[in-house]
């Protein structure tokens, strides 16, 4: 059974300096919290989201039974991240289309919708914004920061930007930066959006249209990379959409995988924002904490003092286990505390959102050991 949650919003008036230069002024962040902050304020867990998610991490909204948060299997009362013990915070990142200030909002300085003028934001900027939210909530130190994929990058970045504020960092199905292949996938998706005639250079809002074709293709491509070859074959194989005979058509939906991808693309294009897609994929591309250290992740990680739990999935080729091992290696070289689980799950990158008892057990065991009482000094 899911628990009832409700979203909140917080307005920030002090400008947020950005990696790209300049600042974001007068912005707001959407967030949700679950559980109770204890008297020591030492049981806070921040959950960072990936590309297609939000501050609605767990629970359901009142009267909407199907509105389960995106990590509802992981977080909640009695779940691996137990909200009976932890005060869990989900926050929507800047530039998103799920509540926090994003390209569909008005730029207070011009009175015009941001659109393509929304500043490029980075993982580091997001972490800085999240830190301000914690300041406002009166939380100095996180018992843990946790995320998968792009969310894992934020968790990692937290441990580097605010080492003294993070006790534990849980980094799942993530990477210390994107490979060329990964950037390439993002670029194809961006080109699909940008070349859609309805994109209008990012100012499609004022034209009353949405570059749905671009978004669809971006999502179809993304979806392929989140699954494994095995899981696609077992789910769809060469099954036909209708009947048992080919239609001998180049345009009709012939195979079930086509129908599935089109369905996913259509669904996505109805609710996701094109500018947000560009911004978030760029944040992924730019993330590279080793860059300031001549590419040495070992040197970059020297700043981290948190204890780490890293998890990868064997069939994840978008954020492959080898990428997690790079992080493990750099932490070991710095003699940091860490545990690393490599889960032999068939579902590819998506596995980080799915139920797998081995995965859940490790996370549960890890959080059970996080001391929320005496760690605060």
């Amino acid at each position: 059974m899911s628990f009832i949650v409700s979203p909140s919003s917080m307005q920030f008036h002090e400008p947020l300096a950005l990696s790209a230069g300049g600042a974001l002024v007068d912005y707001h962040l959407s967030f949700e919290t679950y559980g109770q902050l204890n008297q020591f304020k030492s049981n806070a867990v921040l959950i960072c989201h990936a590309l297609n998610a939000s501050h609605h991490v767990a629970g359901v909204y009142r009267g909407q039974d199907k509105s389960e948060g995106w990590w509802n299997n992981m977080i909640g009362p009695g779940k691996p991240v137990d909200t009976d013990r932890f005060f869990v915070i989900g926050v929507n990142n800047l530039g998103s289309c799920f509540g926090s200030t994003g390209p569909m909002h008005k730029n207070p300085q011009t009175g015009r919708t941001y659109g393509a003028d929304f500043p490029v934001v980075t993982v580091e900027d997001w972490v800085n914004a999240q830190a301000r939210l914690l300041d406002e909530l009166g939380i100095d130190t996180l018992a843990a920061v946790m995320g998968g994929s792009l969310g894992g990058m934020q968790a990692l970045s937290w441990s580097l930007q605010y080492p003294h504020r993070v006790k534990h960092a849980v980094v799942i199905a993530s990477a210390p930066n994107l490979t060329a292949e990964n950037i390439a996938f993002n670029e194809v998706a961006r080109r699909a959006i940008v070349t859609d005639p309805d994109f209008h250079g990012g100012h499609f809002y004022e034209h009353g249209v949405v570059p749905e074709r671009g978004l669809r293709i971006a999502r179809m491509l993304g979806h392929i990379t989140y699954l494994s070859d095995d899981v696609m074959n077992s789910k769809f194989g060469r099954k036909l959409h209708q009947g048992n005979d080919y239609q001998y058509s180049t345009q009709a939906i012939e195979f079930q995988i086509e129908s599935y991808l089109r369905y996913q693309g259509d669904k996505f294009s109805k609710y996701f924002d094109a500018n947000t897609y560009l911004l978030i994929t760029r944040a992924l591309d730019y993330f590279d904490p080793a860059k300031a250290f001549n590419g040495s992740l070992v040197q970059a990680m020297a700043r981290a003092t948190a204890e780490f739990l890293l998890i990868s999935f064997t069939t994840d080729w978008r954020f492959a286990p080898g990428r997690s091992r790079e992080m493990v290696q750099s932490l070991v070289a710095n003699k940091r505390k860490l545990s690393y689980a490599e889960i032999d799950a068939p579902q590819g990158h998506d596995a980080f959102l799915l139920d797998d008892s081995r995965y859940m057990n490790v996370v549960r065991a890890y959080f059970e050991r996080i001391n929320t009482v005496s760690e605060k000094t």
């Binding site: 860490l338 689980a341 081995r358 065991a365 059970e368």
Partner: protein, 199 residues
């Protein structure tokens, strides 16, 4: 072989406060013992999912890794001690792993079931592969793909110019110093690399 005797025996070989890498650490009991009773720190390496979860549960730092992939994650001489407790016999690349052990640490402590134990010899003499507490498997399902004797290991160490600092056998609750190759079910070796002795 697991249990109190082994843990205490290993602890006596591991200098107090050592940085330890435990290859094939199982459920983390030994490393936990070394950390809580012997001032040690470090990581366990384990392939089995349930064991990894058990390690995390007891607060032992564990890295899930297939040892057949080698120890590339670990830098030269980055640990004081590498433990291979009942691990060597499961590895295809047993010899490589032995060399790797002394690459990443100053000292290696290796234990394995001694195939030269009199009972095993007797069993083979009678025409059957032994099935014992230390070698509980049948020949067709054993994960012990490297069956060697105490004396075999001495020869392997010599071949790889690894110095045997201390070696003995374990038989039941006893430490065996006299003729361990025939009298001990478990072989225990404490190794250092020769180059370090001269350094």
């Amino acid at each position: 072989m697991t249990g109190k005797l082994l843990a205490q025996t290993i602890a006596e070989l591991v200098p107090y406060g050592s940085r330890v890498l435990d290859l094939g650490c199982g459920d983390g009991a030994l490393l936990n013992f070394l950390q809580s009773q012997h001032g040690c720190s470090g990581y366990g390496v384990e392939i089995d999912d349930a064991n990894v979860a058990a390690c995390v549960k007891r607060g032992v730092q564990v890295i899930q890794l297939n040892l057949e992939q080698g120890l590339r994650l670990f830098e030269d001489q980055s640990f004081d001690v590498v433990l291979q407790i009942d691990t060597l016999q499961h590895l295809k690349n047993a010899e490589t792993m032995l060399k790797e052990t002394l690459r990443v640490a100053r000292m290696g402590i290796i234990t394995f079931p001694n195939f030269g134990h009199w009972f095993n010899r007797w069993s083979v003499l009678c025409g059957r592969m032994p099935v014992t507490a230390q070698l509980p498997y049948e020949w067709y399902d054993t994960p012990n793909i490297r069956v060697g004797t105490f004396a075999d290991f001495q020869a392997l160490a010599l071949k790889n110019r690894l110095h045997i600092k201390y070696a003995f056998g374990l038989e039941g609750e006893k430490i065996v110093h006299f003729w361990p190759n025939a009298r001990a079910a478990t072989a225990v070796f404490q190794l250092t690399s020769e180059s370090q002795l001269t350094a």
